[in-house]
């Protein structure tokens, strides 16, 4: 009653104030919060507002994001309309719009966790692959180039969400999932990339979003946009890969090892092996010497001569060329008030050190137009042409049927003629075949590619239609459809001169008792074709609701989506082709023939196969957000997915997921008085997303081989999945708390976030009694892992004025931990598989580094020693046996960095700017490669530490490399390989890029050139500090990516 009285009294005494809020330029500002007398009002879309105020003095505050708030004292009544000018506060976060692929939301109203990378940041590096450019540019984003589970691109967003499921995030290109090869996309056509990190951000993508979502938006034209033209061109050279990076046993040491093994009779059984497996030059020479074919003197001379060769030098000198690549791109855009369009074209050309070529051409045309005031139609066509060509083989890793090539292998003789190298058969055997009517059976690696015509073409088409109906002011209906078609065609033409063809023809040559020759595989070219053709349809319709009434804002969307993907693949092979007339010869796939070398039966390889995949899914989703007073936002989302996976009833196929979140813009509160920090926002979300594996099935399925049984000529099949009725989709729950802040004058702005996630129902391999006949493990939804971490992103403007200096800091802390995972087999040796596969021991990281405890080398023999029951032991069978469990192993730490990020610095003075970024990774371990005598003897594969092996008492003080013993003991080798001396810290800091650019100020130079920028960039400059002393780059399994240098120009007209 009292309230009503006061209220009515006030009403009587009120005066109406008409006012307008404008910025410096006089433009009206919308949605400015106006605080007065414990009430709040907002300005309309043109900045106008009306207030009812009693007579007398009033304190009124105006607050809006991006502007300094302003307090005024008004004395009522006013004589004229009130104009309030708010000063720009550049410090405040720019009005960033986040694209989730389903909707665009203002960052200030979102509750979830997003990372955004703009085109200008992407362009700092010249790299054809977008995915690798992102590393270091955004927090919580890491690339794993090493483990077997890395999958497609090895991207990891906020650590792991799964043990053995797919780790790949979902990639969205212009609102639809992109399932092609992301390297087809030209980085120049990307406008920005949004990374959806938490469950609320990603939940809209449902069952595929468990690993995070990457949303890529291409450049678009706006309406009312004058003609704009951008052109860019750059050229890059790379250093050739460093073949000496991986230490290998030297030629001279290899010669000694082979001599030693020869004397012990190691090669005896290989000599009489009817498969005629190749023996190295040293061994063949020793055999010839033993058999009296050459004198000891000659033999020694040949062998001694080999010691000085090094295959790596020869490859560097005669095989490698400088890798080079060029990128050219342009875009043209224009828009009037009813329509707009953009045309993009890009060309990318790369040639690597082995002369492998990769060319890509991209063209895209997009336009939008308005039909009346309520309908807007957009369309897009995108076409990619990709061509790969083949260069020389990588000789250093050439797979010879008895191992790898020894380093003393020569590719050319002294006169410069190409020499044959080891491949499938002994030289002595091949030499003895000369007059038998066979084709030359030697393998010449460097001329092989002259005889093979390889081409790999990709053609990708994406067409996209989007219709937007405005049903009312608050409601609009959006329907979009995308069709994409990817066609790949690989051709491999092996001419009769190619080793591939000669080898096949020879293997199947039949010579009867009278010396009559029959070529079961006809002479002539062999041609392989393989093609795949995939068609995808996506249809989505969505109802969007957005209404602002008073201080309330509701925005919601509900929609449904259907997708369908069909993939057909075909492979075929033709024999005996005459490449001039294109006639071919049919071969007999039905009967087995005696093969030439060992006389065993074989069928002519049949290269024909067909395949077809068909993935379908249906989804329904809802997302709603309510914002009060522009300060408090609450969001919910829900989604159900279904797919045509095998063996699930329709009801089980539907998998509901939900999420909710809130945010609070504290700096918009009236009581908020911290002027140095004009922007402060808190937000939090909780929700779930899923991770599907379409290959998992709950019923027994069989898979047909592409080829029928050659014996019964009937189809043959194998088991693909075993009945496993309890299988479900994996689920990821994530909780995220965030704080966004901006200091006055933009000195420092950024965000800090804490996340905690729990992944449940994870596919986990459970050890199984293999008497069941289905293998020694089975997949169950038994695993649970937890992870938590902190993401921090800070931009600081250290210097303003003529010399500008900005620093970008990304810092991510991420830790995962296995909560539940059943390990039926706890044998320690199963957990030492390098840093390549998961260990998933409860209480430890999913990927952990473990080792055998090391007791040094035996000072008398150089044998490695470990501990068995607390005592020093050399019983390798016991040290590596089943009785040693995971509990006996030493745990070092995780295989993925616990702490990583980057620091970037941008300096600019007039038009000149220097930008560089360091990235760092800390808190992880890796296992270094080590010497195995077993592989050294049987495969010639010896790690370079052979030269520092224990050789005499006393050496144990300087080395951990065990002595050479014969016969090699594989347990001894695996004990040493798995011991703690080979586990090293991965911590390192590297320079990611240094970019120096100059912007020509358009006005001074040329009216036409609005903005021209030239730059030089150096990338992958390598590690500047590392914790290990072996010079190993812990992020690469093999040779790390080499340094590159690029120059380029961008112009805008």
């Amino acid at each position: 009653m009292l309230f009503i009285c006061i209220f009515s009294y006030k009403v009587q005494a009120q005066n109406l104030v008409n006012g307008r809020v404008v910025d410096n330029s006089g433009k009206g500002l919308q949605s400015v919060n106006i605080y007065y007398n414990n009430k709040i009002s907002t300005s309309d879309s043109s900045g106008y507002f009306k207030l009812n105020l009693t007579e007398g003095k009033h304190r009124i505050s105006f607050k809006s994001i991006g502007f300094f708030s302003k307090d005024s004292i008004l004395t009522m009544p006013l004589k004229e309309d009130l104009i309030v000018v708010l000063q720009d506060n550049v410090a405040a976060i720019e009005e960033v719009v986040i694209n989730t692929g389903y909707q665009k939301i203002h960052k200030t109203r979102s509750t979830g966790s997003f990372g955004i990378i703009e085109n200008k940041d992407l362009n700092l590096q010249v790299e054809s692959n977008l995915i690798h450019k992102l590393e270091g540019l955004v927090s919580g984003y890491n690339i794993d180039r090493k483990t077997n589970g890395a999958g497609g691109y090895g991207i990891m967003i906020r650590g792991l969400s799964t043990i053995r499921g797919s780790r790949s995030p979902l990639i969205i290109l212009d609102n639809f999932p992109y399932e092609g090869d992301i390297s087809n996309l030209d980085p120049n056509e990307v406008e920005n990339i949004t990374i959806l990190k938490d469950a609320a951000a990603a939940s809209i993508w449902g069952a595929k979003a468990g690993n995070g979502v990457i949303v890529i938006s291409t450049k678009k034209s706006g309406f009312n946009n004058p003609l704009k033209v951008n052109v860019s061109a750059n050229s890059k050279i790379n250093q050739v890969p460093d073949l000496f990076y991986k230490p290998r046993i030297s030629s001279s040491d290899m010669v000694d090892v082979e001599n030693y093994l020869f004397d012990l009779g190691y090669y005896k059984s290989l000599e009489s092996n009817i498969a005629q497996t190749p023996l190295s030059e040293v061994v063949e020479t020793r055999i010839a010497q033993r058999d009296g074919i050459i004198t000891t003197q000659v033999a020694n001379a040949i062998i001694e001569n080999l010691r000085s060769f090094d295959l790596r030098n020869e490859i560097n000198d005669k095989v490698f060329r400088t890798p080079i690549s060029q990128q050219y791109a342009f875009d043209i855009s224009k828009g009037n008030n009813v329509s707009n369009w953009m045309l993009f074209g890009g060309f990318n050309n790369q040639i690597d050190e082995l002369n492998n070529g990769n060319q890509k051409f991209n063209i895209r045309y997009a336009n939008n137009f308005k039909l009346g005031s309520n309908v807007r139609i957009g369309s897009k066509i995108h076409y990619t042409i990709g061509n790969l060509s083949q260069g020389l083989p990588n000789v250093i890793d050439l797979n010879v049927s008895s191992g790898i090539l020894p380093l003393y292998t020569r590719l050319y003789d002294d006169a410069g003629n190409e020499l044959p190298v080891l491949r499938n058969y002994r030289k002595k055997y091949l030499d003895g075949l000369s007059n038998k009517g066979l084709l030359d059976w030697n393998y010449y690696p460097l001329s092989e590619n002259n005889n093979i015509d390889y081409s790999n073409k990709t053609r990708e088409f994406i067409g996209n239609l989007n219709v937007d109906f405005k049903l009312s002011n608050d409601l609009n209906l959006n329907a979009s459809y995308q069709f994409s078609n990817q066609v790949g065609l690989i051709k491999n033409f092996y001419s009769e001169q190619s080793y591939f063809t000669r080898d096949l023809i020879n293997r199947f040559t039949q010579i009867d008792g009278n010396g009559l020759i029959k070529y079961v595989i006809p002479k002539g070219e062999i041609r392989d074709f393989s093609s795949n053709d995939s068609e995808r349809h996506n249809l989505r319709s969505q109802l969007n609701f957005d209404k602002e009434f008073g201080r309330h804002n509701i925005s919601a969307l509900v929609g449904g989506e259907v997708s369908m993907a069909d993939l057909e693949s075909t492979s075929s092979r033709f024999y005996g082709i005459n490449s001039e007339s294109l006639n071919l010869v049919n071969v007999d796939y039905v009967n087995a023939y005696k093969t030439f070398v060992n006389g065993s039966n074989a069928f002519i390889p049949n290269g024909n196969s067909l395949g077809g995949l068909n993935n379908r899914s249906i989804s329904l989703y809802f997302n709603g957000a309510y914002t009060f007073n522009n300060k408090y936002t609450f969001s919910v989302s829900a989604r159900r997915d279904a797919a045509n996976t095998f063996g699930l009833k329709i009801n089980d196929k539907w998998n509901p997921l939900f999420s909710s979140g809130f945010s609070w813009l504290a700096s918009n509160e009236q009581f908020y008085k911290i002027d140095v920090l004009p922007y402060l926002r808190f937000r939090g979300t909780f929700g779930s997303s899923g991770n599907t594996d379409p290959s998992m099935s709950a019923v027994t399925t069989i898979i047909y081989s592409s080829v029928a049984s050659p014996y019964t000529l009937s189809p043959q099949a194998n088991f693909f999945n075993f009945q496993n009725p309890q299988l479900r989709w994996e689920k990821v729950y994530m909780f995220n708390l965030g704080l966004d802040f901006g200091f006055k004058n933009n000195v420092i702005k950024g965000s800090v976030e804490y996340f905690k996630k729990k992944s449940v129902d994870l596919f986990s391999l459970t050890e199984l009694d293999y008497t069941t006949g289905i293998g020694n493990s089975i997949v169950k939804n038994a695993g649970i892992i937890g992870a938590n971490g902190i993401d921090l992103e800070i931009v600081s403007n250290n210097l303003k004025g003529k010399l500008k200096w900005e620093t970008y800091l990304n810092f991510s802390l991420s830790k995962d931990n296995v909560i539940k995972n059943y390990l039926a087999n706890r044998s320690g040796r199963n957990f030492l598989t390098g840093n390549l596969s998961y260990t998933a021991i409860e209480g430890y990281p999913v990927y952990g580094l473990y080792s055998y405890k090391w007791a040094g080398l035996d000072p008398k023999t150089g044998n490695p020693q470990g501990y068995k029951d607390g005592l020093v032991s050399q019983d390798y069978a016991a040290l590596t046996g089943n009785a040693v469990t995971v509990d006996d192993l030493k745990f070092h730490g995780a295989a993925f960095p616990k702490l990583f990020g980057s620091v970037g610095n941008n300096f600019s003075l007039y038009g000149l700017s220097l930008k560089f970024r360091l990235s760092y990774k800390f808190g992880y371990y890796f296992r270094k490669p080590s010497l195995s005598y077993t592989s050294l003897f049987s495969m010639r594969d010896g790690y370079g530490e052979y030269e520092s092996r224990w050789q005499k008492p006393g050496d144990e003080l300087f080395t951990n490399v065990p002595s050479n013993i014969y016969p090699a003991n594989s347990n001894r080798d695996s004990f040493y390989a798995g011991s703690e001396v080979n586990v090293l810290k991965g911590d390192h800091i590297r320079i990611q890029y240094v970019n120096l650019s100059y912007n020509f100020p358009g006005k001074k130079f040329n009216q036409l050139l609005k903005n021209t920028n030239v730059f030089i960039v150096a990338s992958n400059l390598g590690i500047i500090w590392r914790a290990n002393k072996y010079g190993i780059d812990p992020d690469y399994k093999d040779i790390p990516i080499s340094k590159s240098f690029a120059v380029g120009i961008n112009g805008r007209f």
């Binding site: 065993s600 995949l613 009694d769």
Partner: protein, 449 residues
């Protein structure tokens, strides 16, 4: 206007949802199927990679028909070395070991047997019978090979209590494995083979598929190893009455790498032991005792063996025509089974007819002298010696030693390698190989002593 749109939307949604089921029923991969049709089951049994080429080598390695040089022995991995020297630990690797390969066949057979238990329910009962007959054959063979390796030889009394092998008869992997008695194991093999004989056609379209004639032969082998000579003879007879063609070694090219052709007329069902490094003829050298058993005009010495540079012999006479060792069922084995049974029954002349029938095909044309004797022991010895020569490297010797020791043959094995002597005494428990080590962790099964 608004209401109309709402109606259209709801309509669309309903259509969408009702067609969901059909839309989602599409197979995700055209090459995949849920096995339900006869063609699916036949396809599972025609996959020779999993059925015909995975027989175990452990019995051949343990049996003592070959030896290794020191260098070759030392160059092999420890599992082979341990198997070769009759060790009791680390004899089998943890993965893809012989035990698993056998039980993988059992699972495949069970999938078919469980689904086709009532062949009459299928469109084409004759085809269904053929398929289930093949499955019974494979299950029986897998069980039999497992029994040969991991159990003591059959013994009327002892087998009722001695530990045999797990008899998994369905595909439920939650059922724990349990070792049944040896007696039950052999009963299962016999029952399966009888069912397969009931269902299989006399000959199948290829010897990669089991047939009735092969099933008879395998049943004869089973009874022979049980020392039930009358049943062994009965089924050997049944097999031979359907097929008894022998290959004349005179027509073979002894200089070839592998002179005996694959799928030759003697082969009833073709399976092989892959050419593992230890049994490859570049390493495995034939025991001279065997080589000395061959008479001068016996073609087998040159057809089945190659001479190494050091004068030792290697085996090249696989009925697979390759380095893989033939371990299937063939006429020559069935014939020798019948000959042995006849000899043991005292029907010496009948036994000698069989023996001579084989001999004449193995000797240089016209140079074979028919064997004649009235001495039963002599004839049995002849047959047993013939088995050693004719059936060498077939994976059969191990079981022969075990069953003959039950007859009192007292065959002990010994080896010297790397300056150490190893011995396996007749009738010792070492003739039942130890179960793979990790199996004892994964299950509660008992290890062999």
């Amino acid at each position: 206007m608004k209401n109309n749109i709402k109606l259209i939307l709801i309509g669309c949604l309903l259509i969408l949802l009702s067609s969901c089921e059909k839309f989602l029923d599409e197979k995700p991969n055209k090459n995949l199927a849920i096995p339900s049709k006869l063609i699916d089951f036949q396809a599972l049994l025609d996959n020779s990679t999993f059925l015909n080429t995975v027989d175990g080598a452990s019995s051949e390695i343990s049996a003592g028909d070959f030896y290794l040089s020191n260098a070759d022995y030392l160059g092999l991995n420890n599992f082979y070395r341990n198997l070769y020297t009759w060790q009791r630990k680390e004899v089998f690797p943890d993965e893809l070991n012989e035990w698993f390969l056998n039980y993988r066949i059992v699972y495949r057979a069970n999938t078919v047997i469980n689904a086709l238990e009532k062949p009459q329910n299928f469109d084409d009962p004759a085809v269904a019978k053929n398929i289930i007959g093949q499955a019974y054959f494979y299950r029986a063979k897998a069980f039999l090979q497992t029994l040969y390796v991991w159990s003591n030889a059959y013994d009327k009394e002892l087998s009722k209590s001695e530990l045999g092998i797990p008899l998994r008869l369905n595909t439920d992997f939650n059922e724990p494995s349990k070792r049944e008695t040896v007696e039950l194991g052999y009963q299962q093999v016999i029952n399966d083979l009888l069912k397969s004989i009931d269902n299989l056609p006399i000959n199948n379209i290829h010897v990669m598929r089991p047939s009735k004639v092969a099933a008879y032969g395998l049943l004869a082998r089973t009874y022979l190893s049980m020392r039930d000579y009358s049943n062994a003879k009965k089924y050997a007879d049944s097999s031979l009455s359907l097929k008894s063609t022998l290959l004349d070694f005179n027509i073979l090219n002894a200089t070839a790498n592998f002179p005996v052709p694959q799928f030759n007329p003697e082969v009833l069902h073709s399976t092989v032991i892959p050419s593992y490094p230890i049994i490859n003829n570049s390493r495995a050298k034939i025991d001279p005792v065997i080589m000395n058993m061959f008479e001068a005009n016996d073609l087998r010495k040159s057809v089945l063996f190659k001479i190494n540079s050091d004068g030792s012999y290697g085996f090249k006479g696989s009925y697979d025509g390759s380095a893989s060792l033939f371990s299937g069922v063939a006429v020559n084995e069935v014939l020798l089974i019948r000959a042995e049974c006849l000899a043991r029954e005292g029907k010496l002349s009948d036994a000698l007819i069989d023996l001579n029938k084989l001999g004449v095909k193995r000797f240089k044309a016209g140079l074979y002298k028919n064997k004649e004797s009235l001495n039963q022991e002599q004839v049995i010895t002849w047959v047993l010696n013939e088995r050693r020569k004719e059936l060498i490297f077939r994976g059969l010797r191990w079981m022969d030693i075990k069953r003959l020791n039950k007859e009192g043959a007292g065959i002990s094995l010994s080896r010297t390698v790397d300056n150490k002597d190893y011995k396996l005494n007749a009738n010792s428990s070492g003739f039942a190989l130890p179960l793979p080590d990790n199996l004892l962790i994964l299950t509660s099964m008992e290890q062999n002593p």
